[in-house]
């Protein structure tokens, strides 16, 4: 605001603008609780917590806060093995959900329980390999893992960043030092400033060797205090998510305009994965497999189900390269590899809006029947590969 009007009026205008800005954030984002997990799901596809359970135990978790629910319910580990399954919304979203429907991880967990294996699935929307690596490094010392299942999912290679619900994991010194030793780890550490979950956690960190600057320590304490005492603060991450979704919606409108101008339809549209991001994610994927193998864990890399008779919006050569890259990386590190891409029948896939006003086959989500088929296929793959090694 360039010099104009009375100074006192401008000071008041400033104070009022700041107050209005914070109040507007509070008003806009505290009421409008967008379910980010469901935001990217297809038509009539939903996430239902009731379908996450096996034998009264929650099998699927998505964030650090949520993790307690999964970990608390685990039986004592002395006589049992813990198997970690990493994945995205395919693991928890069900198309055309009916009460009593179960997800693939819940069904698989029931089967494995008899073999003294406790399955825990960490799944979040559009998970990327960097996040998978972070989740693995965070869980490894906490869970005494016996095996890991990693999807070779092409859409994940398009994603980037560490979502706020997992950034607190980077405040753990053990996670930081484990990541720092990996080729992709320093980029992950550099991409996000470590955030303390609470003042208590900040205190706990200080007990460990503290390499933070005074600025970082003071800032973390201040942020923790603000989070506890200032209600509008708590809408910040919600607001960031909502704005991102709004921008994505705006981007879709631009794509529609492009399609209108170019006459583009699903028949000639493909999902482009920037090679840059592909390279970055492939490095993290490699680090995940090699880290788990170095920790002595059997690893199963699997190609997840996809609709085979319908349109799959990736360039075939890119998809083929990705599958062979995944298999090569798995074999190079002594991990197992299984391809279950044809495991789910075409009729059980859901539908989605492609963002340009067209209804197309959802290439990621399916009905409860599809979840049963996926669980069957993965159970077979596990039995043939890493389950005996875990035993």
């Amino acid at each position: 605001m360039r010099d104009s009007g009375s100074p006192m009026l401008r000071v008041l205008a400033f104070a009022l603008a700041v107050a209005c800005g914070v109040a507007a954030d509070w008003w806009l984002f505290s009421r409008q609780r967008q379910d980010f997990a469901a935001a990217g799901l297809g038509i009539n596809t939903t996430a239902n917590e009731a379908s996450y359970y096996a034998g009264g135990r929650q099998v699927i978790c998505s964030s650090i806060e949520d993790l307690d629910h999964c970990l608390r319910a685990l039986p004592p580990s002395s006589s049992r093995k813990r198997l970690l399954w990493l994945g995205w919304s395919q693991l928890y979203a069900i198309n055309d959900y009916h009460a009593g429907d179960r997800t693939g991880p819940a069904l698989l967990a029931e089967r494995l329980a008899g073999a003294d294996v406790d399955l825990i699935a960490i799944a979040m929307p559009n998970i990327n390999p960097r996040e998978e690596l972070l989740v693995y490094e965070y869980l490894r010392p906490r869970l005494k893992l016996a095996g890991v299942v990693v999807p070779a999912w092409l859409q994940g290679m398009k994603q980037e960043g560490i979502r706020p619900t997992w950034q607190a994991a980077l405040a753990d010194p053990a996670v930081r030092s484990a990541l720092a030793a990996l080729p992709s780890g320093s980029a992950i550490l550099g991409s996000v400033a470590p955030q303390a979950k609470s003042a208590q956690e900040t205190g706990q960190q200080n007990l460990a060797k503290d390499t933070r600057t005074t600025q970082e320590r003071v800032e973390q304490r201040l942020v923790a205090e603000l989070a506890e005492r200032f209600a509008p603060w708590r809408v910040r991450s919600q607001a960031q998510g909502e704005i991102k979704l709004a921008l994505l919606a705006g981007k879709e409108q631009v794509l529609r305009l492009r399609n209108l101008i170019l006459g583009t339809r699903m028949a000639n549209w493909i999902n482009v994965i920037p090679p840059v991001r592909y390279g970055i994610n492939l490095e993290a994927f490699t680090d995940l497999v090699s880290a788990a193998r170095r920790d002595g864990l059997p690893v199963l890399v699997y190609v997840p189900p996809r609709p085979k008779g319908r349109r799959f919006p990736f360039e075939p050569t890119v998809y083929a390269t990705f599958k062979s890259d995944s298999e090569r990386i798995a074999r190079a590190h002594g991990a197992s590899f299984a391809n279950i891409e044809d495991a789910v029948a075409d009729e059980v896939w859901g539908e989605a809006d492609n963002g340009a006003g067209e209804i197309v086959t959802d290439y990621s989500h399916f009905t409860a029947a599809g979840h049963r088929q996926m669980a069957d296929a993965l159970a077979g793959a596990l039995t043939a590969t890493i389950l005996p090694q875990m035993q």
Binding site: R10, V11, A187, Q215, K251, N268, G279
Partner: protein, 500 residues
């Protein structure tokens, strides 16, 4: 301490309040202590390096002034320059030179000739070194009297608002304002607060969000990028560094204003420049003015100016073309290396020297003299991409990467993937190797900048004459900006210029 943090918001509020409450003497001491604390939030041990640099000049300036014999004056000046540039050389350039010597030895099939080591670069060393050197040189030139009060002088160097990333100001511009506090005027608060809010918006909302695309693109395998990707990355980085550094300058200028200290502007819409020289009158004005007065004009043998305003100036026919050109190239080579110890920075500097040389040639042709608007439009159309391409050298992680990216731009085949046209997928034939959102941003940002310039230059002054409209517009703008700053304010990444 970094500006884009809640720590700084609270720190600044406390310091400003006490500044206005305290009388003169304790006020100087308090502000000096606050400045040391500000720097110490990063590393307290490096405060000593800064003070060593500052007080060498304090004593050197007094002795230069007291000395009658020119030889003695030169000796004190040399001592000051040796200490300041010695520290700068050790921390910033020594490992670079050792690396180059060893690299040359490897080329000749020899082992390392010199031992390598690692050292942490003191934050802001390039800025406070230039500031203290300008003070000593000004005393040597007889432009100013030396300061006798160590506390006041220490405050001039360490004053936290411009300590780590400028603006690079002259003693004559800052010391009188710090020494004799003006009576409190609500105008200080009014202008300072709005500048800080704007700066935080530029940094937290714009620069940091663009930075993600830039980091990803420049961190990639260059072979996977197309020519259009390189252009997009260049434009995105150009805007990231502009928003980032302009943000720092606005917060610095705004913070100083809260204490009644007026700093000159450091940026003025650089991307609307119609020539390379015009760009340097709008970009990092305090640095280009410093370079003008302490390097370029002395090399040309022309009398320098006395203030950190104006940026680069033409010396015209006062000196011969050969001397002018050599001075220009030497100046820009040093300017490049000032930004960072690497050949990529030196190349960036030389690129700008080349642009100015080309501008001189074109200007000498006297084309379109009567068509001012057309000349301006064509000038902008040529200057904007040229400046943006230069950022590739600046941001590239190595010379190899910079060459590879510039090579792409020169290859017509790199603008479209013809092999993909036959695949039936239109989208894949478009040469996009980075996130499509980056493309959208790169297209929108120049347009938005031109619009903002028109609003600032033409629309706002007219609006300001109608007070009934000013308040609602300011409130709407402030609410939107403050709301976004509140959501995004967090020290995700430091200001880019911290590393210089």
């Amino acid at each position: 301490m970094i500006f884009n943090s809640f720590t700084y918001v609270f720190f600044l509020a406390g310091v400003t309040l006490l500044y206005w409450l305290l009388p003169r003497r304790p006020r100087h001491l308090f502000l000096f202590a606050a400045s040391i604390t500000f720097y110490g939030f990063w590393r307290f041990d490096y405060v000593l390096i800064m003070l060593a640099s500052a007080f060498t000049d304090f004593f050197a300036a007094i002795n230069i002034h007291a000395a009658k014999a020119p030889a003695k004056r030169r000796l004190w000046l040399a001592l000051s320059l040796a200490v300041n540039f010695g520290l700068l050389f050790y921390f910033k350039y020594a490992t670079f030179i050792v690396g180059n010597v060893n690299g040359l030895a490897h080329l000749l099939g020899r082992e390392d000739l010199l031992k390598t080591w690692s050292v942490v670069l003191p934050v802001g060393i390039s800025f406070y070194t230039f500031q203290t050197v300008s003070y000593t040189v000004d005393v040597y030139r007889g432009r100013i009297e030396p300061i006798r009060e160590p506390l006041l002088y220490g405050l001039f160097v360490t004053y936290f608002v411009h300590l780590v990333a400028g603006p690079i100001l002259r003693a004559v511009e800052v010391i009188p304002q710090l020494d004799r506090r003006k009576p409190f005027d609500p105008e200080f608060l009014a202008s300072g607060l709005w500048l800080i809010l704007n700066g935080l918006f530029l940094k937290c909302v714009l620069a940091d969000n663009i930075g993600g695309y830039v980091d990803e693109g420049f961190g990639a395998n260059t072979a996977t990028l197309s020519a259009t990707d390189v252009w997009v990355l260049a434009v995105l980085f150009g805007f990231q560094i502009y928003f980032d550094f302009a943000a720092y300058s606005q917060i610095a200028i705004g913070s100083a204003r809260l204490m009644g200290v007026i700093f000159p502007p450091n940026f003025y819409f650089p991307y609307v420049a119609t020539s390379p020289r015009d760009f340097w009158r709008r970009w990092h004005i305090s640095l280009s003015s410093w370079i003008r007065d302490y390097l370029y004009l002395p090399l040309c043998g022309v009398r320098p100016h006395d203030e950190s305003r104006g940026g680069l100036v033409p010396v015209g026919d006062q000196v011969g073309a050969a001397r002018r050109n050599i001075a220009l190239i030497a100046t820009w080579f040093i300017m490049g290396l000032w930004h960072g110890a690497g050949w990529t920075f030196a190349l960036w500097g030389l690129w700008h020297a080349l642009l100015i040389l080309v501008q001189r040639v074109i200007a000498s042709l006297g084309l379109l003299r009567r068509h001012t608007r057309l000349r301006g439009a064509l000038g902008w159309a040529a200057t904007f991409p040229a400046i943006m391409l230069g950022w590739v050298f600046f941001r590239a992680q190595s010379l190899e990467q910079a060459w590879a990216m510039v090579e792409k731009v020169m290859q017509p085949a790199s603008y479209v993937r013809l092999d993909r046209l036959q695949s039936g997928y239109i989208w894949s034939a478009l040469p996009i190797g980075i996130d499509p959102v980056g493309y959208l941003l790169a297209a929108l940002l120049p347009v938005a900048t031109l619009l903002a310039y028109v609003v600032y230059r033409d629309l706002w002054p007219r609006l300001a004459q109608r007070p009934a409209l000013v308040l609602p517009v300011a409130l709407a703008y402030g609410t939107a900006v403050a709301g976004l700053v509140f959501i995004y304010l967090q020290p995700i990444r430091q200001f880019i210029y911290f590393q210089f």
